[in-house]
């Protein structure tokens, strides 16, 4: 089967810094793929490149076997296949328009009558546990967790086959992050969506992804099946990263 996303020898420099350096990744279809690494490791840059929002200096990206092309027509075409959920969903909602306006935009892109879009939206909102009234709200009137759901609803409305989520649980409390993760799990199972999760939360990626890569300073340090990758990392950096994760079990205080 063709890979959902293939990245071949991607290279990108911002001045002196290498944002991406010979990055090659194959993301298989229908699975969940994790990209982990610290800030500045190039995770988000790679995501932007996969979405065609960032031109590469060298290298190639293929979405479902089709090479990524620049230009508005190609972007429109691609929007139906790949959809992003950005890290700060509230920041990607216009503070001056209601959620409804944002959702209608999707209808315009899909060349679908607004009534039909709206009908599908109501179904999706129900799935995500959002009240219908959210449509008529402004971004500042909804909570952070709701804003993230709205971003997911918008992405799903386009009926993509690949969903790329950048730090989906960042800024959420532990009591609600589970809810969002369960939701992503349900969606990918029900819709057979390829889910790419970019996160610094190693514990989360370990549980939801089949395969993952570890990035550092624009390079892929290590990659492979999550089970062996987390159980016995081969690279010292990966080991260091995993060891730094605070563990609940080892409380060696006890005063």
């Amino acid at each position: 089967m063709t890979d959902a996303i293939t990245v071949l020898g991607a290279r990108l420099r911002f001045g002196e810094t290498a944002a991406l350096e010979s990055v090659s990744v194959s993301i298989p279809q229908g699975a969940c793929f994790g990209i982990v690494g610290e800030s500045g490791s190039g995770k988000t840059t790679l995501m932007r490149a996969m979405l065609g929002l960032q031109r590469l200096d060298a290298g190639e990206i293929r979405i479902l076997g089709t090479p990524l092309q620049q230009g508005r027509a190609a972007l429109r075409q691609r929007a139906r296949v790949v959809q992003p959920i950005f890290q700060d969903p509230a920041a990607s909602l216009s503070p001056r328009s209601r959620i409804r306006t944002l959702m209608n935009e999707v209808g315009t892109v899909l060349k679908e009558p607004h009534a039909a879009t709206h009908e599908r939206l109501l179904v999706i909102l129900k799935r995500l546990g959002l009240p219908d009234s959210v449509i008529d709200k402004y971004p500042h009137e909804i909570s952070g967790g709701q804003a993230r759901r709205v971003a997911i609803a918008r992405a799903l409305l386009v009926k993509p086959s690949i969903l790329i989520a950048d730090e989906p649980t960042a800024g959420l409390d532990v009591s609600v992050q589970g809810d969002l993760l369960n939701l992503l799990q349900d969606i990918r199972r029900a819709e057979n969506i390829t889910l790419v999760v970019i996160s610094h939360n190693l514990a989360v990626v370990r549980l939801i992804a089949e395969n993952a890569i570890v990035m550092r300073a624009g390079r892929v340090v290590e990659g492979g099946e999550v089970g062996p990758l987390f159980a016995s990392p081969r690279q010292s950096y990966t080991r260091e990263l995993f060891a730094a994760w605070p563990s609940l079990a080892s409380n060696n205080k006890g005063r």
Partner: protein, 329 residues
């Protein structure tokens, strides 16, 4: 010389009514000890820090509360009650180090400023040496060069180290760290926590660590207090609370944490995550009975009527929780 906070209550006056952010919260921290104050967004944990530091917003009113710091008692309901302690008896590390650093002055100038306030009689040369020494102690590379740099020239982790160095120089009796590592990477987080612990051990101060991460608390703190919707639901030693949570909320919070070594289903779509269903109560109208009633999985009829007191857990006076289950046979 313990730090003691008694019956702190804070209200925020909002256009939609008065929100009770904190209700009779008490905390005790021994010298040389680190207390982890955990709670979700909206639980009021930062309000505790701001009330202690006297940094509350204009629309906030402290309706009750006293603090005992270094043997002196402060009535927190009075404006600027703890002003004499700022920069001497108390220091604070914020989530965003840029909030504590002035962008137009060099690191050196800002460190020396602390010393000028603390020891007005010392001369400039001594101050510079002390400041460089502090930077070296928090393991910032090239202290001499850093002294002449501006905050924007440093990374987030380096800036947080500078703020810790500032705290070190002011030798506080109480150090408040409000989400000090939230904006940092895990590897840097571990280093910064080590520096905070190093500072505590060096000057023997009490540390109040405010965080939403139970992982950080169980790894680094001696005691833990759990805050929910402005009320302290549980407190005790980290070991006791972890072994036997006295309040269902604490137990549920621990269940929501995702351990890195949790059992992993090979079909990853099968891995599920724990959630605390429901929402925070309206801060303007406290529901009768237990504040956590409604989200609790073991509540019974009395929970909706009786406000629980602070009961010892397993007969341990140093471990208390506000849950009626503890006194119901």
């Amino acid at each position: 010389m313990a730090i003691s906070l008694r019956d702190l209550s804070v209200d925020y006056n909002l256009p939609i009514g008065t929100a009770h952010a904190l209700r009779n919260v008490s905390l005790d921290i021994q010298k040389g000890e680190m207390l982890g104050l955990v709670g979700e967004s909206g639980s009021g944990k930062s309000t505790v820090a701001f009330a202690l530091m006297g940094l509350l917003a204009n629309n906030a009113t402290v309706t009750s509360g006293t603090a005992i710091i270094e043997g002196r008692e402060f009535d927190l309901t009075k404006p600027n009650a703890t002003a004499p302690l700022r920069g001497r008896g108390m220091a604070m590390i914020f989530q965003d180090p840029m909030l504590s650093l002035n962008p137009v002055f060099t690191i050196g100038t800002q460190l020396i400023e602390v010393l000028r306030r603390r020891a007005p009689d010392s001369d400039r040369k001594t101050r510079i040496a002390q400041a460089e020494d502090a930077l070296a102690k928090v393991k910032l590379s090239n202290p001499k060069q850093r002294m002449n740099q501006y905050p924007h020239e440093l990374s987030g982790g380096m800036r947080q180290r500078v703020v810790i160095a500032m705290a070190l120089l002011s030798e506080p009796a109480l150090l408040i760290a409000d989400e000090p590592t939230t904006a940092l990477d895990v590897t840097v987080e571990a280093q910064i926590m080590r520096e905070i612990i190093g500072l505590r051990d060096r000057i023997g101060c009490a540390v109040l660590l405010i965080t939403h991460s139970l992982g950080l608390v169980t790894e680094h703190c001696d005691r833990i207090s759990v805050l929910y919707a402005g009320e302290r639901l549980e407190s005790g030693s980290v070991r006791d609370v972890q072994r036997q949570p006295g309040h269902p909320y604490t137990r549920m919070l621990f269940d929501c944490e995702i351990p890195i070594d949790r059992e992993r289903h090979a079909d990853t779509a099968q891995n599920r995550f724990t959630v605390i269903a429901g929402e925070l109560p309206d801060p303007r109208r406290r529901p009768p009975g237990c504040i956590f009633n409604g989200r609790c999985d073991v509540s019974f009829a009395d929970c909706a009527k009786v406000v629980p007191g602070d009961y010892p857990v397993a007969g341990n006076a140093a471990h208390g929780a506000r849950c009626l289950r503890l006194v119901t046979p």
